[in-house]
């Protein structure tokens, strides 16, 4: 399933600032939450790009921007070389056939008043050209089968299913239009541990079966490692490090990545007393008022004067083989996993 060919998704300098306003009648902008602040990456056909980061790093806003559910403040998204224009309905509609999403919470992402058949069949009602009316029921049943659910349950309601089954329904809805890209926003984190593996296996099987490209957003680093070909680490609206999964996990060069990896509890008690742990101090700063220069410098043990003045660019640094946004990038294997 090695990804090849041209990028299917090109993201350049994507920015989303949410204005902070004051006053009720005369609204005055007093600042902005810089949720996503200059993110660029490519995604190739059949590839999985994992996006990791903590709450407030902008990964969920990034998902909404990629889905054109939010209008970017600036920057561009291209799918198959074509620019996505959120202001042009026909362009947007074509775009939506090609990029779909799987959401985090299977309990709120399905309309409780619709049957499973109506939920999975809705894409066909919106994009009537995809399937003629007579075929839709059959298509929905096929989709149920593809995601491992009983096709006879087409007339059931979401509350008659368990969390894992609901997530499968959400996946089936995402697949209905046969998109090339699926954005998975924390697709397993709301599920019970014993169910997570089932859903991850399903996502991997669907990828190889339909040649899907995934953006896989999650905070569970071991799940991301398992499923991703490449990984981007986000901090306060920016990508701080991006590279192949092995590069990020075995040769992390950004201090934040190193701290993040070392903070993940390893499900193996052997050697826990001697394991290296980088405990960061404090909380991430507010995205409304990020630090100057490098955004991580307030929690970084390597920070020097230059970090407050000059913003480190995401680029390949001396001694590393992948892009890192740190002036003092240095490979340091914190996990020793392999």
């Amino acid at each position: 399933m090695a990804p090849q060919g041209d990028p299917i998704l090109e993201v350049r300098d994507l920015v989303k600032h949410f204005p902070l306003t004051q006053g009720i009648v005369m609204k005055r902008q007093i600042g902005a939450i810089k949720a996503v602040d200059g993110v660029s990456f490519d995604l190739r056909r059949g590839e999985t790009l994992g996006v990791v980061g903590e709450s407030g790093c902008g990964k969920s806003t990034l998902a909404k921007l990629l889905m054109a559910l939010e209008k970017p403040t600036s920057g561009s998204v291209k799918v198959n070389g074509e620019l996505v224009d959120v202001h042009r309905g026909s362009n947007l509609k074509r775009f939506r056939r090609n990029i779909q999403m799987v959401m985090q919470d299977p309990y709120t992402s399905l309309n409780p008043r619709m049957t499973v058949g109506d939920i999975i069949g809705e894409p066909y009602e919106i994009h009537t050209e995809v399937a003629p009316k007579g075929d839709r029921r059959k298509k929905v049943q096929d989709l149920l089968e593809v995601v491992g659910l009983n096709p006879d349950h087409i007339n059931r309601y979401p509350h008659q299913f368990s969390g894992g089954q609901r997530q499968r329904i959400g996946i089936a809805r995402g697949l209905a239009l046969q998109p090339e890209i699926i954005i998975c926003d924390e697709p397993v984190s709301a599920l019970d541990v014993s169910i997570q593996a089932q859903v991850i296996n399903l996502l991997e099987r669907l990828q190889s079966e339909f040649g899907l490209a995934y953006i896989f957003i999650a905070h569970d680093l071991s799940v991301v490692r398992h499923i991703s070909d490449r990984v981007a680490v986000m901090y306060l609206g920016k990508i701080v490090e991006i590279g192949k999964d092995t590069e990020i996990y075995d040769k992390p060069s950004h201090p934040y990545t190193q701290a993040l990896l070392s903070a993940v509890p390893v499900p193996n008690p052997e050697g826990r007393e001697t394991r290296e742990r980088i405990i960061l101090q404090g909380d991430p700063p507010s995205p409304a008022n990020p630090p100057s220069g490098c955004r991580f410098r307030t929690r970084c043990w390597k920070a020097q004067e230059i970090c407050a003045v000059e913003e480190p660019l995401l680029q390949i640094r001396p001694g590393t083989d992948h892009e890192s946004a740190c002036h003092f990038a240095e490979v340091h294997d914190v996990v020793h996993a392999s």
């Binding site: 019970d192 169910i195 997570q196 490692r225 398992h226 909380d283």
Partner: protein, 348 residues
């Protein structure tokens, strides 16, 4: 009957056990809820024990009964709809379930304290955090307002809230999630409890903050020799901090063991399945092992062993006979008829 709280204060603080009696012992506890759809048997005969200075991890999924057991220990279950038809919860040898509500509230907070997953909803939004911490000292210790506030600041320092003196008059919503959890911890350790129950304390937090909180808990435990019950579904957190583990499934303990034993060789198919479904580096690109099927429905439990519909080791008697908790060694037990086969990795 003597007041048990007076009783316990007479004991030397460092005595973990009274003879062979552990600090806290849950014995054959049953809890059921009456719901509109019938009786939900949330806890079906759970037993575990905790000694001073020890960390017991109670591992389970939602609906396994792990939180309900903890709430029963704290005496904060709403009864009704909950009912405790059977069982004992012994704290230093005294069965808490036999005490009056007044006696239990003496123990609650002073000897057994609890922290919750959602610190924001556990703190009162209309009072400052200082007031809420100080309240513990004023109510339980009868301290003056001023002394109580001084203690509050001291505690906030102890859980490492930066600039505690300035922040003591802030309201809960002015703190970040990690800081709020620290405030919760400050309140729970205010009266030097001997047992601290932490119910998914870091589930709502980010990993870097989780690491801070777990480190803090470990340090506080070392300082005061508390017994810690850590309720979680996270196999990583458990491996990091636990001394021993009780794995729960369908309202029962399915495996009880020291932490190293479980991770090196599980003796129950459920535990084994959970551990095998963790993504591993050397398994990249391969299919993950997945426990098939769904967690049980509390209102409609499977007969025999609750895990049998999902179990690769299942034999005919698993469908009919509830397996007892078989003792494997002095410290290990497994509620599986075929624990030997599970340990050997045969069958399945």
């Amino acid at each position: 009957m003597k007041n048990p709280s007076v009783d316990t204060h007479l004991l030397p603080a460092d005595s973990g056990t009274i003879g062979t009696e552990p600090l806290l012992a849950v014995d054959n506890l049953h809890v059921e809820f009456s719901t509109r759809q019938g009786v939900a048997r949330a806890v079906n005969g759970v037993s575990y024990a905790l000694n001073a200075g020890e960390t017991l991890a109670v591992l389970g999924e939602s609906g396994s009964g792990k939180s309900v057991t903890a709430q029963a220990i704290m005496g904060i279950l709403d009864m009704p709809p909950a009912r405790i038809p059977k069982g004992e919860i012994r704290f230093r040898g005294t069965d808490l379930l036999q005490l009056s509500e007044a006696q239990r509230s003496q123990i609650r907070g002073q000897q057994i304290a609890m922290i919750f997953q959602d610190a924001l909803s556990a703190l009162n939004p209309v009072f400052t955090v200082g007031w809420q911490i100080a309240e513990m000292f004023r109510v339980h210790k009868g301290m003056s307002k001023k002394a109580a506030y001084a203690k509050a600041v001291e505690l906030m320092d102890r859980v490492r809230i930066p600039a505690a003196k300035q922040r003591v008059n802030d309201y809960p919503h002015q703190f970040s999630g990690g800081m709020r959890q620290r405030i919760m911890i400050a309140m729970s350790i205010a009266l030097d409890p001997e047992v601290l129950i932490a119910d998914e304390p870091t589930t709502a937090l980010d990993v870097t903050v989780q690491a801070q909180i777990m480190e803090l808990l470990a340090e506080l435990q070392r300082e005061s020799n508390m017994g810690l019950i850590l309720i979680t579904h996270d196999l990583g957190v458990v491996a990091d901090v636990a001394d021993k583990i009780a794995v729960m499934y369908g309202g029962r303990i399915v495996e009880n063991a020291p932490v190293h034993d479980i991770y090196s060789n599980a003796a129950h198919p459920y535990t084994k399945g959970l551990l095998e479904s963790i993504p591993r580096v050397d398994m990249k690109g391969q299919e993950l092992y997945a426990i098939k099927g769904l967690p049980p429905n509390l209102l409609d439990m499977p007969t025999g062993c609750a895990f049998h519909p999902r179990c690769p080791f299942r034999q005919d008697n698993c469908v009919t006979d509830v397996p007892a908790l078989h003792e494997i060694s002095g410290t290990r037990s497994s509620a599986c008829h075929y624990w030997r086969e599970v340990l050997d990795g045969t069958a399945g």
